[in-house]
Amino acid sequence: MKQHPLCTDCEPEVDVTNLPIPTGLKQEWSAVETRRQFLGRSGKVLGWAALASLFGDAALRGGAIGADAKTPVTSPGKGNLGLPHFAPKAKRAIYLFMSGGPPQIDLLDYKPNLAAQYNKDIPDSVRGNQQLTGMTAGQSRFPIAPSHWAFKQYGQTGTWVSDLLPYTAKMVDDLTIVKSTNTDAINHEPAIMFMNTGNMNPGKPCLGSWLAYGLGSMNDNLPTFIVLQTKTNPKENNQPVSSRLWSSGFLSSEYAGVGLRSGGDPVLYLADPDGIDREVRRRMLDAVEEINRQTQADVGDPETNARIAQYEMAFRMQASVPELTDLSKEPQSTWDLYGPDAKQPGSFAYNCLLARRMAERGVRFTQIYKRGWDVHGDVVGVLPTLCAETDRACYALVTDLKRRGLLDDTLVVWAGEFGRTVYSQGGLSKENYGRDHHPRCFTTWMVGGGVRPGLTYGETDDYSYNVVKDPVHARNFNATILACLGIDHNRLTFDYQGLDQRLTGPQPSTVIKGLLA
């Protein structure tokens, strides 16, 4: 019987192997146990997580370096390998998430023949009989609202781009534009869940968590997966975005996204209080860890290990985050590129700049959320603001990565949770209109490591209502992102609730080979 330091009423030691629990859980426990014993033997000079920083996290994961093709690094009950399945084109990814559903018809999906059909009803044959949202299902008419903005062709690819996106227009020859993205959900919450986790219901791990779990960290001082939220603009229709979207679900919490705050200190209480120096903090953490390790020994809950790892990460972030967010050494060329917005913490441009700095510092996955794209009404009033906030910054990020040689092994993704309807929600006038949610087709783009530049993939019908060629379902979209990072989406699994869970869900999904370089 072992005495827990905090336990006054001691219980007999639990032997997990004799408990009436599923074998998978026991195997998982014993995998963690082995790791614990290994670290125990290594001595407790700095605590195991500190040791880990010396060994490299590869050692922590069961010795990635010791593994070869014959013995893939997998813990029992887990599909985790800590290494890509095959040589990746991209080491890291930056996901620009346009929450709310950008209207593809006003941005990149040019439909020249809509102008002649102003205020006519969308043909029933096009609209079909699928369900609409409650916001427009009751409308007696579905009048076509052509885009208020003119489109021009840009680049050698002759890609049509709206006048709202003058900066994006400059880089169309580098982009892989997907006009045929489509999803299953028509309302924000299930749709944004679906894009991020491959499932409409909350509780599944998101793309970033799967990447952290499958590929591990590239550095010891910053989280593997960081989330940046853009400050909201009260003029825009902001849908809620919160940590449920960067949750690790049933994966260990160490794979969850770490959100940096958009204003003030990026991480709260990051600085040590007066009178506490680095040495004292270290000793305090060592003591806490000792207790946690004892708890882990007694209870065998992997979440305790996650907590230990997070304490250590927080300790290292005390040093690394101030350096990350210190933009004073950025050359003038940076500000010329990103524009004045980038000096405002919490702006989309600022977050894009931070994303580039994180890419340089070995952050595996950065997700930037920009809310406000939910333009049910007043498209003409709101959309220019949204584009002004994001267009230049997107261009700046891609250009900055490109000129610094980072775009070769970084994948940048621009996507929302769905698109918007061709017909007007509410009143349609020559001056203004609204657009409702539309999951049947929307436009996204990718650029960088793994995808083919200068490509427009997929086509929609004349009303940008249905996909007519090369559909890219959200599941396949995610499978393709994983493929760029060297992961076979069918083999990155986690045994949970009796199912080999994966990002793309139990349904069959495919990598869209046509998008790959």
């Binding site: 920083s53 010396l54 060994f55 490299g56 590869a58 050692a59 010795g63 990635a64 370096i65 010791g66 593994a67 070869d68 093709a69 893939p72 690094v73 390998l81 290494l83 890509p84 399945h85 095959f86 040589a87 990746p88 680049g155 050698q156 690819t157 002759g158 020859d173 590239m218 550095n219 010891d220 001082n221 050359p331 060329s333 340089e360 510092r361 070995g362 490109k402 000129r403 610094r404 040689g405 070769d408 092994d409 083919r452 530049p453 200068g454 490509l455 427009t456 993939y457 997929g458 086509e459 019908d461 004349d462 007519v468 060629k469 090369d470 060297g486 046509g514 370089a517």
Partner: protein, 475 residues
């Protein structure tokens, strides 16, 4: 006159020798004359003629296999009949049945071509082959009785063989119309191709047209608009023919994609009656369409080597990386090494032969030339060295030149001056070098520019390229 008399005499004797009534001979010969005259009366002029003809004509492919089978059966029955006379009797019936089916098949085929306005060399050959086949069958039937009676040993086998040859030829031409001329040889292994001397249908050369436009059109369009068949008078199998256009004039207007009918037709909605390729054939991919558009915009020449802005993966095929050797014996040493230095050697992927990445991001400021030198032992296994923002200097190149499998070298933000970058010249696998934010000059990176396989050279924020204007040396 004597010669003519002799020929007539021989013909008369021959006709009498066949033991077939004169009236039958007259009808066979006049039938043949009708078949031969038909194409001159109802010319295949490339114009469509009525839905009825096309509707019926489309049953041609469903019917044609039946007479083919019967014709092929005839020689089998004749040969087997040497032992079992009953079979030889059947051969006569089969031969007649074949003719009875072949004539309507020919008629339907002619209706198809005439109705749909098909023209072209393959269509013409197919038609004449069918005429020859029908005449051959009729004559075979007429001369057969004499052969059975062992009076004329030669004419029947000769005519039957000729008919079967005509059948093979006609069938092949028909297949070429449906599937395209190179259907049979498309996947022929190269040695065989060389053996039979079948030249590939490449447009020749390395121009953008020859490499990307011609193959796409050849695969997707040339079955109907090619050397064999020229619907609407349009042929796309060669550059000159394509630029000549069809009955509606030019299909490509150099510099003006929006005015080019070819592009307009392939970009219609697939359901549109004018959409090309028609009849449910495989459409062009959106990528092929984008190449055609860019190519037309760039002037639609046959010779331009590249079209600005179009980056095609095949254009920059990088040779597959050489696998690194087996380093499994060194694993304990590698672990020891990273334990001491904090720099890591991380496998690129789960496949060991993909090699190792040298990762220094956690120890960057304390990682210098001396530390790098300690990785010399693992040099052949390192495919990527991430040395950005470390303390390495020009001296590090002496170590790096031993990294024989190195493909990517990150040295951005280091104190490299570039004085001895020539030392990297021997690294034949190196495709990526990042020297952004260093002191290298355009002169000092000259040795790197001479390395043909080095496609990605980044010099942003250096004296060589202060504004990073040409960040990517080759896109």
């Amino acid at each position: 006159m004597i010669v003519a008399e002799r020929v007539t005499g021989a013909a008369r004797r021959f006709v009498q020798g066949t033991r077939v009534g004169k009236s039958i001979w007259v009808s066979v010969l006049s039938g043949s004359a009708l078949l031969i005259a038909l194409p001159f009366v109802l010319r295949l002029d490339g114009r469509g003629h009525g839905d009825w003809l096309q509707f019926l004509g489309r049953f041609h492919p469903t019917l044609l296999h039946l007479p083919i089978g019967l014709i092929c059966l005839v020689p089998v029955l004749e040969i087997a009949g040497a032992k079992r006379p009953a079979l030889r009797e059947a051969a006569d019936f089969v031969l007649r049945a074949a003719l009875v089916l072949a004539l309507p098949t020919f008629a339907l085929g002619y209706m198809l071509a005439y109705g749909a306005g098909d023209t072209g060399a393959t269509v013409t050959r197919h038609m004449w082959g069918a005429v020859a086949l029908c005449i051959g069958l009729m004559l075979s039937i007429v001369v057969r009785p004499a052969w059975v009676a062992r009076e004329q040993a030669f004419p029947y086998p000769a005519l039957l063989s000729a008919s079967i040859l005509a059948l093979l030829w006609t069938g092949h031409q028909g297949g070429s119309i449906t599937h395209g001329g190179d259907y049979l040889t498309h996947y022929m292994p190269r040695p065989l191709r060389v053996l039979i001397g079948s030249g590939s249908k490449d447009a020749g050369g390395n121009s953008f047209y020859a490499l990307h436009i011609h193959p796409a059109l050849d695969a997707k369009c040339a079955a109907c608009h090619g050397s064999g068949s020229a619907k609407a008078g349009l042929r796309l199998h060669s550059y000159d023919d394509m630029m000549r256009g069809g009955k509606d004039g030019a299909v490509i207007v150099p510099g003006k994609p929006e005015a080019s009918i070819l592009l307009a037709r392939v970009t219609l909605t697939p359901g549109d009656p004018h959409f090309m390729p028609a009849e449910g054939r495989t459409p062009l991919t959106s990528e092929e369409i984008s190449w055609i558009r860019a190519w037309i915009r760039a002037g639609a020449t046959a010779t331009a080597a590249s079209v600005p802005g179009v980056k095609i993966a095949e254009d920059r095929v990088e040779p597959p990386p050489k696998p690194v050797g087996d380093y499994s014996k060194l694993v304990p040493e590698i672990q020891q090494m990273q334990h001491g230095l904090g720099a890591k050697l991380v496998p690129l992927s789960a496949k060991a032969s993909d090699g190792l990445i040298l990762r220094t991001v956690d120890v960057s400021s304390s990682f210098g030339d001396e530390q790098l030198a300690q990785f010399k032992k693992f040099a052949p296994y390192i495919v990527e060295a991430e040395l950005g923002r470390t303390a390495v200097s020009d001296a590090s190149l002496d170590t790096l030149k031993t990294f024989t499998h190195l493909r990517a070298l990150h040295m951005e933000g280091t104190s490299i001056t570039g004085s001895n970058l020539a030392k990297l010249s021997s690294l034949s696998q190196l495709t990526y070098v990042n020297l952004s934010g260093t002191k290298v000059t355009s002169q000092s990176v000259e040795p790197l520019r001479k390395m043909p396989q080095l496609r990605h050279l980044y010099l942003f924020n250096t004296p060589a390229e202060p504004d990073g204007a040409t960040a990517r040396s080759t896109p």
